[in-house]
Symmetry: C2
Subunit: 205 residues, 2 copies
């Protein structure tokens, strides 16, 4: 096959895969902070280190420690850009280390969730609420949602094609032109299904 | 209702639940050792502390440290009685802390698995192999297996009625008169499905 034919075949294969499968990504523990909090923790705003799969989102150069009543998590990733409200996304396993029980919530739904202390190189802050275990979710472009017949806010089952196959129930789909299509699991979930980078899932109706 | 009627109702309810559901249990990281290894680690054989759900099995008073190339796990449970071969059952998350990648295996299937160092109060031992992430499995009595139409060694799907509902694929069922009926998940799996003590699962055909 010629290089051009090869490229056309690859493009086709990707299009077919994109109609059926959703790439899986594991989200490690991470922190979102406001501009004011970044200033208090680091003495300046966040510095982009590398882009994430979601357009405009990035991993920052800066790191924090999360300090709970029972234990600490060091060198935790901070994601940018800054937000209007702090949010700390940890796994249930992380919660055991810290000594708190994070409620399972969608990003942004932090009312009544526990607070925590964050330590940066330039200072510490106490956030009054915002510690959650991210509810598993799928980010989806409007094009992929239309192809798959999925509406924004819909709850679906997600089958993983992984070493330890799982069907995750109660997976929330959020559709936006600002998104790239990816299913986000936390590390408890990624380890429970034996997920490796590049693994795919499929939405079950 | 009289106390006798109440008791009869409870007995009936339990019988019905036992025909449909399988109780879920989370297995924390733990270690099995031989008699010789117990002697080397503790200076004596294992001391039963409390019985486990599987008849004859117990949590020992003794504890060990697991020492990997990158990190340590302290105060790890030792289960008795002693076995003919050492086995160290950890989660994938634990493996990251230790710096090893445990293969997902059924108990007893340890060929080619990594070794590790164990430290006890009286000495240390290096086991050449035996570190695994336990493949999720169901212990089942022959009576329950007959009722549910399940054969020893069969692989099933297990639906969990938990906060974060999941259908676990690739669940191995082992049937023996020496067993009590329980589904065993590791902590990655238990956290991924939001399992709480007393939660139930159901085998899907």
């Amino acid at each position: 096959m010629s290089t051009a034919e090869n490229r056309e075949l690859e493009r086709l294969a990707e299009a077919v895969i994109g109609r059926i499968f959703v790439p899986l990504e594991a989200s490690g523990r991470h922190v979102h902070v406001t501009k004011e909090q970044a200033l208090a923790l680091f003495g300046h705003g966040l510095t982009p280190k590398r882009p994430l799969s979601q357009p405009g989102q990035y991993l920052a150069e800066e790191r924090v420690s999360i300090v709970g009543p029972k234990g600490r998590l060091e060198h935790v990733a901070v994601l940018g850009p800054e937000r209007r409200e702090a949010q700390v996304e940890i796994s249930v396993t992380d919660g055991r280390i810290l000594g708190i029980a994070p409620p399972v919530r969608l990003s942004g739904d932090v009312s009544g969730s526990p607070g925590i202390k964050l330590e940066g190189p330039e200072g510490s802050i106490a956030i009054p609420a915002g510690v959650i275990a991210a509810r598993r979710h799928i980010h989806m472009t409007p094009e992929d949602a239309a192809r798959m017949g999925i509406a924004d806010g819909q709850t679906v089952k997600l089958q993983t094609f992984t070493e330890r196959p799982v069907i995750f129930g109660d997976v929330s789909v959020r559709v936006s032109p600002r998104f790239a299509t990816f299913a986000h699991l936390d590390y408890d979930e990624a380890n429970a299904c034996g997920m490796q980078p590049g693994d795919l899932g499929r939405i079950l109706s």
